[in-house]
Amino acid sequence: MKKNRKSQAAACWRLPVWTARIFRPFYYLHFAVADFFRWIYRVFYAGPLFEGRCSSVGRGFYTMKIPDATSQCNMTLGDDVAFLGHVGVGSGRVFDAPAFSIGNRVTLGPTVFFTASKEVRIGDDVRIGGGSRIMDSDGHPRDTAARVADMPPPADEIKSIHIGSKVDIGRKSIILKGVTIGEGAQVGVNSVVVANVPAYTVVAGNPARLVSRKQAPSTAAVGNE
């Protein structure tokens, strides 16, 4: 411990306090410049390139990074979709044109990855937390011999995923194949959803279990603000 003291003192050395007055504008300048270049990148490069790749994109599309979707799937995006980070969509080699569709006002957090081998459908007003993975196939067949032979999963092991409207999915959750999440449901942080989730419920855990039920709202819509 003793011999480190000198190096620790060197590592902890800071500029005197009064210099903050000089450096403060540079702090704001740093982020202003960085944000400007990020804005150029996403408005004129990442967004338009991805729009070119999709079959249809609604108004007000926002993406921070260029989504990685170099697969054969057919992508449809609604209005006011926001990707707050790197989003990836992969689809295996089983089906010709898997469907990947997102409704209106959907927000995906950073590093959300999809496996859309057959169909992934997301409704309106859905929010998906960062690090989540939504996979409609396991990527490898369950049969050991086929897996060792590097075969794709058989068609009956690929089941489409439907996520209803107004669903909230917590950070780092994993939604497995064949799952339907009902309208207004909430999935807790770091859950693994292996079974259907009924509408207006809260599920959490690995595997996800019912935690509580929510009151379904009356027909009067809740304002956006």
């Binding site: 403060r24 338009p48 991805f50 070119g52 490898h140 050991t144 011999a145 086929a146 897996r147 690995n206």
Partner: protein, 245 residues
């Protein structure tokens, strides 16, 4: 700061002027340049070109730079090693790779200087390792032939990541095993032949051969899965999704 106060006022939309400024800012910041329909194929081509270039540069770097460097670090390497990103190796660990090993991404292989014996990481033939794996090797981690390991799996053969490798116990993954994403394989675990570990599991105990285990801590949910010769290849009922209620 004046700028902070101004930004908060705009965010809250305190007066018609600030509301107007908020609308303008939202339009400018949170939108994408519209793509005219005739130009769409051009942008689609640009999209392919972006990822094509990225893939090509990655392949070139993997072939000419990262592959040779990682091979030089390993104690023995088989034929046809495939690497896309350079795994980071720290400590005195000895790495043995079999034939046709694929490493799809950046991995971290760590071992401590204090563990006494030279720790061994032994990877068999035709093993696929995903992205973002972490190996903490203070005694031995052995992965046999034809194992698939998904992304972000961690193998830890001792409890501590840093200086004090307390009581390491070797990990053994037998052949044909398949380990799901984000799983944790803790010390002293033997994963049997053909076993399947579900996503996000924490494996603390031995997993018998040809079974499916999942959860935290991982429990066996299905036995005799995966078409072994003596099992009748029937789909076990327990694997079907059970209702959450």
């Amino acid at each position: 700061m004046i700028i902070d106060e101004l930004i908060v006022k705009i965010k809250r939309g305190e007066s018609p002027l600030f509301r107007f400024m908020r609308r303008c800012a939202q339009t400018i910041l949170y939108s994408t340049m519209p793509v005219p329909k005739p130009l769409k194929p051009l942008f689609a081509l640009g999209y392919r070109a972006h990822f094509g270039t990225k893939f090509f540069i990655n392949w070139l770097l993997g072939f000419l730079y990262r592959g040779p460097l990682f091979q030089a670090r390993c104690a023995s390497v088989g034929k046809n090693l495939h690497i896309s990103l350079l795994p980071e190796v720290r400590g005195p660990v000895e790495i043995h790779l079999g034939d046709n090993v694929s490493i799809f991404g950046a991995n971290l292989i760590e071992s401590s200087d204090l563990c006494g014996v030279t720790p061994q990481l032994i990877i068999g033939n035709r093993v696929d390792l995903g992205h973002g794996l972490q190996f903490l090797v203070n005694r031995e981690v052995r992965i046999d032939d034809d194992v698939n390991v998904a992304n972000f799996v961690r193998f830890m053969d001792s409890d501590d990541f840093n200086s004090d490798p307390s009581d390491p116990k070797p990990i053994h993954v037998c052949r044909y095993a398949w380990i799901g994403q984000d799983s944790f394989i803790l010390k002293g675990v033997t994963i049997g032949e053909g076993a399947v570990i579900g996503v996000n599991s924490v494996v603390k105990t031995d997993i018998p051969p040809y079974s499916v285990a999942m959860g935290n801590p991982a429990r066996v949910v299905v036995k005799n899965v995966g078409g072994r010769a003596d099992s009748a290849a029937t789909e076990p009922a327990a694997l079907k999704p059970e209702p959450t209620q």
